[in-house]
């Protein structure tokens, strides 16, 4: 489909883009910048309403983007994550100020970039979309100009990200040079023969550096803790979910379209990286004293579990990845909503701020417990459904070692999640005043809590939807 014909299918994205520019324009006239946040939310809702279920898969813009059910799934994921982030930002003093308007504009563009990245089926499009997401992430990390740590983190993020994209670009050039095509399916068709195995594998591994950076896979995770700690809390919440989701989307598209013939080679690599990622994440999380850093390592470990599903990459594995992402998005954003409440009040992110939270604000503490238990994968919460699926993917494929390592990791992870629970319930409060809960926070909390409990108790609709997305 050429560009003009494609535009018809591109309406939601066009609305997002137009909304972004309009918000930029509004920024000149509106004094109360919160209205721009509200406008951004409205744009996201309108966009979500415009997304229609694709009856058939179509390739848009002469082979750059695929509009398929997979894209449809990630559209909703990206829009919801950005919406919750904006809700958190509306109540956050960190992001308030005279630049606040631009901040919401950046998020609208971000939503646009995320959808593009999930839809990209062409090496060039993949590269551009990932870079688009990355550059916006750098900007958002350093958005609070007065905070030197945030600036340092942003620069670190930029340097690390640039190196990784450079390596990825090199990998892409190898693949392009060997196959003569940028289309990932065509690459798969041309590099399928055994003669190209070495080169294809090199290209893939180099590309893994760039994608691994996005999904904070060990050993490319080193930027994550610093960035997550220093970025404004809503941005951290966003970074732990959305860029990872599209990173996984790209990885899945790439592995299943370009390298199915090499599965027996890369499966071992991804499996090893999965075990490494979860172990590094969990072991490092144990000793953290800053909640954002703590959740950063936890999210690295979670990426490790999701990689289990990528390793298998059959129907169970793919459903595992998508289901895990849906439940993880709710749970992690929920946890960050509570983090946001506490740090808005205490002005810091030390774990000690959580001491006795159950006494001064029982509801947020109970919600936080639910989110942490869900992250630990305990039933009947959403996280359990995700765990159940990644474990079944591993067991079905007879990867006993992977399953065992993951089980041990889950037990270790429960230890540090319970550290927070212990602080909230088993120790006395240092501060007495309850944390404030303005309406955007309450809305975000209700939304994420409903998702965490609802998907845990009644996962059937989500699983059915994911199966439909995967064409089963």
């Amino acid at each position: 489909m050429n560009a003009l014909e494609s535009l018809r299918f591109f309406v939601p994205e066009a609305v997002l883009l137009a909304g972004g520019f309009l918000a930029l324009f509004l920024d000149f006239f509106l004094r109360n910048k919160k209205w721009i946040g509200g406008f951004a939310l409205a744009v996201l809702v309108v966009t979500a309403c415009l997304c229609v279920w694709p009856d058939k898969n179509s390739i848009l813009f002469s082979g750059f983007f695929a509009l398929d059910r997979f894209t449809y799934f990630f559209r909703f994921l990206a829009l919801s994550v950005v919406a919750v982030t904006i809700l958190l930002s509306l109540a956050s003093p960190e992001t308030s100020g005279k630049n606040e308007g631009e901040y919401y504009v950046l998020f609208l563009f971000m939503a646009f970039a995320l959808i593009l990245a999930a839809a990209a089926v062409n090496l060039l499009a993949i590269y551009m979309a990932i870079e688009f997401v990355s550059i916006l992430s750098y900007l958002l990390t350093g958005f609070v100009k007065k905070n030197p740590e945030a600036k340092e983190a942003a620069v670190k993020y930029l340097l690390f990200g640039s190196v990784c994209s450079g390596i990825m670009l090199f990998g892409m050039s190898l693949l392009y040079g060997a196959s003569g095509s940028l289309d990932i399916a065509a690459i798969g068709a041309r590099l399928g023969s055994p003669a190209w195995t070495g080169l294809a594998l090199t290209g893939l591994l180099l590309m893994l550096a760039g994608i691994g950076f996005k999904i904070s896979m060990a050993p490319f995770h080193l930027w994550a803790p610093d960035v997550y700690q220093a970025a404004p809390t809503p941005v951290t919440a966003f970074l732990t979910v959305a860029p990872k989701a599209v990173g996984f989307a790209v990885l899945i598209r790439l592995l299943s379209a370009s390298f199915p013939a090499l599965a027996w080679k890369w499966q071992a690599v991804i499996m090893g990286l999965s075990m490494l990622t979860m172990t590094v994440g969990n072991l490092t999380a144990i000793s953290q004293v800053n909640i954002k850093r703590f959740l950063a390592y936890s999210s690295i470990a979670q990426a490790g579990y999701i990689l289990m599903g990528v390793t298998v990459l059959n129907v169970t594995g793919l459903s595992a990845v998508l289901i895990y992402f849906a439940v993880y998005a709710f749970t992690n954003l929920g946890a960050f909503t509570v983090v946001s409440m506490v740090s808005n009040q205490c002005g810091n992110d030390d774990l000690s701020s959580y001491a006795g939270l159950a006494r001064r604000s029982p509801v947020p503490a109970a919600c936080m417990t639910v989110f942490l238990l869900s992250l630990a994968g305990l039933p009947p919460l959403a996280g359990f459904v995700g765990k159940l699926f990644v474990f079944s993917a591993a067991i079905e494929a007879h990867y006993v070692l992977l399953a065992t390592v993951a089980a041990l990791n889950s037990a270790a992870a429960a230890y540090y999640y319970f550290k927070i629970v212990r602080l909230m319930y088993l120790t006395g409060p240092i501060e007495k005043t309850p944390v404030a809960s303005p309406w955007p926070i309450r809305l975000a909390l209700a939304f994420t809590l409903a998702g965490t409990l609802g998907l845990g108790l009644f996962p059937a609709p989500l699983i059915g939807f994911v199966r439909l997305v995967l064409g089963q």
Binding site: L378, F384, A407, F418
Partner: protein
């Protein structure tokens, strides 16, 4: 209502738990009554189920089955039979008793009773669920309230004990989850349905692996040697009513898991692991007995005696005979009521003296004659005095084991002798001997405490004199189990 009786039994406590949360602060005094009423209503539902229970069949009864996650073949599948029903009854009874024993809790009552009732739902669900995923869900639901109940209301080392209990059990149960998934993918029809899985013949190699995975989950819960180290910590630090529940119900979840899942679904592995199970059981019986003997802390002694007594359950299982299975099931029941009672009695004296050091007591028999009588009764039941329930169950286990191996039976007897040794020593130290003037004027056991102990004592006596009142429920299930291993139905 009788059509969904098992759901009512399982979820009435949950409804009660949310009612407790809704009680406003100014009506705080009613919290414990709402909770007690909930446990009593659950008990009434259990009695109703008792009348519906048919003794004639080994089939599942009062079955409820609805698809829960159809894409994964997970069902909401509840049902009961002779293996689970005595446990449900035990749970209902112990929950009422322990709720009455909780009246001494004054701090954060609302949270306490909320978690307490949530725990009851988890335990009931674990005993009634017959879909493996559903079972796992309830099994894990038990962990979380238990963590808080030990961690918030426990003794000086409560936090350590709580997290140790939690991590141990969680690690075990994650392996169990892997085992469950292996069964799912190993069965031709891809199912978690207990009934379908028992009718599936699994490959012996797969059976052994899954048996080991299940073992990790269940043996930690029992706890079997060498996974018992969480138990003394948890028992000692937990508040009295929670120790009672731990000993009376939670430990049974482990042996119930073996009886319900490992043995019927994986019979060839059960035969293959028979010697290993027997060795673990015997180590538990003897080692637990010796360690109990060495304790100076009253509560720790009772805690370790559980290791020894639960060893008998495992031995009864390892025997793979009809009598062995009957003995194991009856021992689960009678250990529940006896040790539950002993923990209550420890709590009674601890509330007054604020020490559990047995050496610090002496001559309490003269100060608290009623208490002394009850303590002696429960101790004698625990050491297996004929005429009380502990004797019948241990005797059946030994009888069942004797057929399989005379050596095992002989070794297990050491445990019986040790039980007499440590329990009588305890009685000598606490009740007899020269009166310690420090305890002059110590208050006698009060009416509420007696009320918690009397039902247990009556049951111990009834089962001891006429064990058929419980055994009749178990017999059909035992016969079908024994038939699985070619044993003679007893």
């Amino acid at each position: 209502m009788s059509s969904h009786i098992l759901s009512w039994i399982t979820f009435t406590p949950l409804i009660g738990a949310f009612l407790v949360l809704l009680i406003p602060k100014s009506y705080k005094a009613y919290v414990k009554w709402v909770a007690t009423l909930t446990t009593v209503i659950t008990g009434l539902f259990t009695l109703k189920a008792l009348t519906l229970f048919s003794l004639a069949t080994s089939k599942l009864q009062m079955v409820e089955k609805v698809a829960w996650i159809p894409q994964f073949n997970v069902q909401y599948f509840l049902g009961t039979d002779g293996v689970s029903f005595p446990m449900v009854f035990l749970t209902a009874l112990i929950c009422i008793v322990a709720c009455l024993a909780s009246f001494g809790i004054r701090e954060r009552e609302k949270e306490y009773y909320f978690l307490y009732l949530l725990l009851e739902t988890g335990m009931m669900g674990s005993f009634l669920a017959l879909d493996l995923v559903l079972f796992y869900v309830f099994w894990e639901i038990v962990l979380v309230p238990m963590y808080f109940l030990i961690g918030i209301w426990g003794g000086p080392r409560k936090e350590y004990a709580a997290i140790k209990f939690f991590l141990y059990t969680l690690a075990g149960s994650l392996f169990m989850l892997l085992g469950i998934l292996a069964l799912y993918f190993g069965s031709a029809q891809h199912t978690f349905d207990w009934l379908a899985l028992t009718q599936t013949k699994f490959d012996p190699a797969l059976q052994r692996i899954v048996f080991l995975a299940f073992f990790a989950g269940f043996a930690i819960k029992v706890p079997a040697f060498p996974f018992h180290t969480w138990l003394p910590d948890a028992h000692v630090e937990a508040p009295t009513p929670i120790s009672v529940i731990l000993a009376a119900v939670l430990l049974k979840m482990g042996t119930y898991g073996f009886l319900r899942f490992s043995y019927p679904i994986l019979p060839s592995a059960a035969v293959w692991f028979q010697p290993a199970m027997a060795v673990i059981a015997l180590i538990g019986i003897i080692y637990g007995g010796f360690v109990s003997f060495a304790q100076t802390d009253f509560k720790k002694m009772v805690a370790y005696s559980s290791v020894s007594h639960m060893g008998f359950v495992l031995l009864g299982l390892a025997a793979l005979t009809g009598n062995g299975f009957s003995g194991a099931m009856l021992q689960m029941f009678s250990h529940g009521i006896i040790t539950g009672g002993l923990f209550l009695l420890v709590g009674v004296v601890y509330d007054r003296a604020h020490t559990r050091d047995m050496g610090a007591f002496g001559g309490l028999g003269a100060q608290m004659p009623l208490y002394a009588g009850l303590l002696t009764f429960f101790s004698l039941a625990s050491l297996g005095l004929p005429g009380l329930s502990g004797f019948v169950s241990e005797f059946l286990v030994l009888l069942g084991t004797y057929i399989t191996s005379k050596t095992w039976a002989a070794l297990a007897l050491i445990g019986v002798i040790l039980a007499a040794a440590y329990l009588l020593t305890m009685i000598r130290k606490v009740l007899l001997g020269p009166a310690n003037p420090k305890w002059n004027g110590i208050a006698e056991i009060n009416l509420r405490e007696i009320l918690t102990l009397v039902p247990l004592a009556l049951l111990i006596l009834a089962v001891g004199i006429y064990p058929k009142i419980v055994l009749d429920y178990m017999t059909p299930a035992v016969q079908s189990m024994a038939a699985l291993f070619g044993g003679t139905p007893s």
